[in-house]
């Protein structure tokens, strides 16, 4: 069993850690670094709740080892709102459209939509809906999400 020291940037802050090879990124983010906005659902890549942004791309943090994030830029739901507390456009859209119920799947959904709408060219509503297939909402609150996505998508 190997242990590794890692250094990464989480929500703009430098973090260091000492992790076993087998520790997943989601466990490191929650347990070692304290970012409990990373929700861990199925732990085998099906539910999408643990989705975070690694080097600009939305990925499932249960399907990546912490040691693999050495040197990476990671964003979690805690890193979305501005310093003054004003919501990220994706958070605002979900809030306005009542696109969350129990909230368990919400951080993962936020990170997928935030990663995809980051650039100047917004993906189409269809592409965003397609990406949401990677998230399971046990409240089945998909209609609110669809409305939120309608506001976030670019021209088809």
């Amino acid at each position: 069993m190997s242990t590794h020291s890692i250094e990464l940037t989480i929500n703009g802050r430098r973090e260091v850690g000492n992790v076993e090879g087998r520790m997943t990124l989601c466990d490191f983010l929650r347990i070692d670094a304290g970012y409990t906005g990373v929700h861990v659902g199925c732990e085998h890549g099906v539910c999408g709740a643990c989705t975070v942004i690694v080097d600009g791309k939305a990925v499932r943090s249960c399907l990546m080892l912490a040691v693999q994030a050495d040197g990476a830029q990671v964003t979690t739901a805690e890193g979305l709102a501005a310093a003054d507390g004003s919501l990220h456009p994706v958070q605002q859209a979900l809030r306005d459209e009542h696109a969350l119920q129990c909230g368990f799947c919400t951080p993962g959904v936020l990170m997928t939509l935030a990663a995809l709408t980051e650039g100047a060219q917004k993906p189409s509503e269809e592409a965003l809906i397609g990406a949401l297939s990677g998230h399971i909402c046990r409240c089945t609150g998909y209609q609110g999400l669809r409305r939120a996505v309608r506001r976030l998508g670019g021209e088809p």
Binding site: D27, H44, G45, V59, L65, S133, G134
Partner: protein
């Protein structure tokens, strides 16, 4: 639901990775994109002594052209394949197939070579490699070898790869510009494994089929090359093709199974219909189904 302990190694060259595999004597597992292996580790269905992470080997990444072929580095991420101009131009059906591999989030980490080397029988990438006549380049401390994709798969998750071997490249021969592409899959939800699917390419010269490559996925223990249909198509006049007969020959090579998603008979019935419909659409014919 946490992986069992293992030693983690991240070599930066193919030579170093091969050495680790050889020294581990079968106790090592390769970590590519991890989108299949990580669940298996979490469920403890896989418990390697050593996990060899090949994400830091630059030689395994990227897409290049050499002669009349396109070479895909196995660690090329599926999302990179979707954005590749080279693949769009030379292997359009591979790009079409990639859109059906997993979900957006898993394609951001999952690799083309990882899927090809794993050999899930219902997956799109292995069947695409078989249909298009790809050659898989394999390395170990014993040397390198090249294996045709249709001789690479032995059973579900079982390939000709020895425990000390590593896929270092997948070479796709060129299909002429403007070739006909065929792709269709039936799955219960987007991102699910296919119940029935097939992928292929055809070239037409002077109204006759000059070259055909077809393979099924989800229709047997490995990707299934539709050899009888390929042979029957060669030289045929496109305007006079008997779609039902070709579909029957295509199905004849499959060996689908019953599972809790669908029966073998269902897979054959749907496969037959999807095949003839897709072939007809691809060839631009208009008759009703």
């Amino acid at each position: 639901m946490k992986p069992a302990p293992f030693d983690y190694e991240a070599p930066t060259s193919v030579e170093a990775a091969c050495k680790l595999l050889a020294e581990a004597g079968g106790g090592a597992t390769l970590l590519a994109g991890g989108q299949t292996l990580m669940p298996l580790l979490a469920l403890r269905m896989s418990q390697p002594f050593i996990l060899v992470d090949i994400n830091k080997i630059p030689a395994l990444q990227g897409i290049s052209r050499s002669g009349n072929a396109t070479r895909i580095g196995p660690m090329t991420r599926q999302c990179e394949g979707l954005e590749s101009k080279v693949l769009e131009q030379h292997l359009p059906v591979l790009v079409q197939a990639l859109r059906h591999v997993g979900h957006h989030q898993t394609r951001n980490r999952g690799t083309i070579g990882g899927s090809i080397a794993l050999g899930e029988p219902a997956a799109e990438m292995p069947a695409t490699a078989v249909a298009l006549g790809a050659v898989i380049e394999i390395a170990s401390v014993r040397g390198t070898r090249r294996v045709k994709a249709d001789e690479f798969y032995l059973g579900p998750y079982l390939t000709v790869l020895e425990p000390d071997e590593l896929v270092v490249g997948i070479e796709f021969p060129d299909w002429p510009a403007g070739h006909v592409t065929l792709f269709r899959e039936l799955a219960q939800r987007p991102g699910d494994f296919a119940l029935v699917g097939f992928v292929g390419a055809l070239t037409i010269e002077a109204g006759r089929i000059a070259r055909a490559g077809l393979a099924w996925f989800g229709m047997g223990p490995t990707p299934v090359k539709a050899r009888q249909a390929e042979a029957a198509l060669l030289g045929q006049d496109v305007a006079k093709l008997d779609m039902a007969q070709i579909a029957e020959l295509a199905i004849a090579d499959t060996a689908p199974f019953d599972d809790h998603h669908a029966s073998a008979e269902y897979r054959r019935t749907v496969g037959r219909r999807l095949f003839s419909r897709t072939l007809r659409e691809a060839l631009g014919r208009k008759e009703a189904a």
